[in-house]
């Protein structure tokens, strides 16, 4: 899980280098990530973890923080 989180943080930091992704837990609610970022992020995550993120998983709860993203990826890997 920690490894997943670290990789996600690297991807996020690459998207917006000036955001504190380590502690931020309202990435969607505060509109830090927009729809373009989300799609780019999904493309990176799919490539990195070899998982399919279906459209119905694209909800704020799954994208609001690095932890939430890591949990979603871990759950998808388990399925």
């Amino acid at each position: 899980m920690n490894e997943i989180r670290e990789t996600i943080l690297e991807i996020l930091q690459d998207l917006h280098e000036d955001v504190d992704f380590e502690n931020e837990d309202k990435l969607i609610d505060k509109k830090i990530l927009d729809s373009f970022d989300i799609v780019t992020l999904i493309s990176e995550l799919s490539n990195e973890f070899d998982v399919t993120i279906p459209a119905d998983k694209i909800i704020p709860e799954n994208f609001n923080s690095a932890d939430a993203l890591a949990e979603m990826i871990a759950a998808l890997e388990d399925e």
Partner: protein, 530 residues
């Protein structure tokens, strides 16, 4: 029937009275009856289309939900017997079956829209292509009458069906209640495109009379009427004149036409939505906001987050994301990472999905090349703007003056002008003419029209200009004040008497400054034609 018809206004007052008089449990039925009556008034045949959407959605969403339940029961029954892979394979098969039913529903409904709205456009283009090969294009061109609000209620209902398929919420088990969600009359003219989980609760609650809610709702309705009849309808004759004769009205006239149309479209569309939301507020039914001061936007991307919000979020959730995360798109992304480099592979899904979404957004607005080009030009500007974001950040860091309110104002004016120019595609008959008219603004410097009395020859009197100018200033001030929350609510909280005075003043303004007169016939709402 229009919101401005006297029959509608009379019917609305009657509905408000009845709604609060009858028992709570019958109120949603009254709304359904009113919606059917409203829709039937626009033509009995139109009822068939909306009924087909409601019936097909009702049965298929129930079927999808039953299948999902049965699949879950099956997995539970074999919990200990099946391996993880077996469970996964079973779930995949079950989901595929449900997807088939959803696809059938989508094809049936969007197919209906495609034939009615785009049949003629498609056949005309096919005939043109046949013509290029030297043959006379003689394929029949269908001529269907577009049912009122089909682009709105269909999108709203299909959004509901997709959400049920995604198991976001359970489907509606009562046909009458679903039919009300599909046909709720204030939204049939021009939206907004509501979500079931936002709208349904209020729709079926049958909320009773609440003085504050009714007062604020009536004010919102009157505010909408002010925008529609005092501003949009007043400037309409000038817009119609300026775009009707492109040979005569070029250069600064085209600029005037663009500015006038920008005001007309804003007042018309936001006014209509104000009336819709106001009706909902009186009835205790919260309806989604569709605008958030769009002309205060600093760029086009922001503008589209603030203008026609419910259409934008619909496309984002049901088209943009599904296309972006679809397997073929991810494969394309992977392939381009290997062949064209990491950077291109990373952004390719965003680019392709954006172009597709804006192509469809253009088509949604109308079956014409003007709208398609308009949509694609929006996509190009948004993508260029997105790629330039790091450049903008460096610019703002380097130049302190670019972080002032004055610069924000400049950006807002720039966005307004850009959107106005793009909206010229709404006005002129074809794409080449639109580009030509846009071009004349730069080389035909007939600036004298601003002071030689030509402005008075545009079917607008000095009094009209006075009302339009004052109205625009009022809209601007209201938007500024609205940034800190609802102005009507703040006035109500301060003083009930002041709030009542505001209602009476608004009513008087609508009655005195509305563009009535002998033979007055309010124009159709612009977005009702999309």
């Amino acid at each position: 029937m229009l919101f401005t018809d006297s029959l509608f206004i009379f019917g609305l007052i009657l509905l408000f009275l009845l709604y609060f008089l009858i028992p709570q449990k019958y109120r949603w039925m009254l709304l359904l009856a009113a919606s059917i009556a409203f829709y039937a008034y626009s033509g009995w045949t139109n009822l068939l289309y909306i009924a087909a959407t409601a019936v097909s959605t009702f049965f298929i969403t129930r079927k999808i939900e039953k299948m999902a339940g049965a699949a879950k029961d099956e997995v539970s029954a074999h919990k200990s017997e099946w391996s993880r892979d077996e469970k996964k394979a079973f779930k995949e098969r079950a989901k595929k079956k449900r997807r088939r039913w959803l696809t059938l529903l989508l094809i049936f409904n969007f197919g209906m829209l495609a034939v009615i709205k785009y049949g003629a456009f498609t056949m005309q283009n096919v005939n043109s292509i046949i013509g290029w090969f030297g043959e006379h294009g003689t394929l029949p061109v269908p001529n269907f009458l577009l049912p009122m609000g089909i682009s709105f209620y269909l999108f709203q209902t299909m959004g509901y069906a997709i959400d049920v398929y995604r198991e976001k919420y359970p489907c509606e088990k009562n046909f009458g209640r679903l039919a009300l969600f599909v046909s709720f009359f204030p939204q049939l003219i021009q939206g907004p495109i509501s979500r079931y989980d936002d709208l349904a609760k209020g729709l079926y609650a049958g909320n009773g009379f609440d003085a504050e809610r009714v007062q604020l709702g009536v004010q919102r309705i009157l505010w909408g009427y002010f925008k529609k009849v005092a501003l949009a309808d007043r400037i309409l004759p000038a817009v119609t004149l300026l775009i009707s004769d492109p040979e005569q009205y070029q250069g600064m006239y085209a600029l005037l036409g663009m500015l006038y149309y920008t005001l007309q479209l804003y007042a018309d569309f936001t006014g209509g939505i104000d009336i819709t939301i106001g009706i909902g507020q009186v009835l205790g039914i919260p309806i989604a906001e569709n605008f958030q001061r769009p002309f205060f936007s600093k760029n086009i991307t922001e503008y589209w987050r603030r203008w026609h919000i419910t259409l934008g979020t619909w496309f984002k959730d049901y088209l943009f994301y599904p296309i972006s995360v679809a397997q073929p798109m991810l494969k394309l992304s992977k392939w381009s990472r290997e062949k064209l480099g990491k950077n291109i592979g990373k952004y390719l899904p965003v680019y392709v999905s954006t172009i597709v979404v804006w192509f469809v957004t253009g088509l949604w607005h109308g079956a014409a090349w003007n709208f398609i080009v308009w949509g694609l030009m929006n996509a190009v500007i948004i993508l260029i703007s997105e790629r330039c974001t790091p450049l903008y950040s460096r610019f703002h860091k380097k130049f302190a003056w670019s972080n002032t309110h004055a610069y924000d104002g400049f950006q807002a004016i720039r966005t307004t002008l850009m959107m106005g120019c793009l909206r010229m595609f709404d006005c002129y008959r074809d794409v080449p003419l639109t580009f030509k008219m846009f071009g004349t603004m730069f080389y035909k410097w007939n600036v004298h029209v601003f002071w030689d009395g030509s402005l008075m020859q545009l079917k607008l009197t000095a009094a009209d200009y006075g009302v339009l100018l004052a109205g625009t200033v009022i809209l601007f001030i209201a938007s500024l004040l609205g940034r800190k929350g609802s102005v009507r609510k703040r006035i109500w909280d301060r003083s009930r008497v002041l709030s009542c005075c505001m209602t009476v003043t608004l009513l008087l303004i609508v009655l005195i400054f509305g563009a009535y007169g002998i033979g007055y016939d309010s124009s159709q709402f612009i977005y009702n034609q999309f």
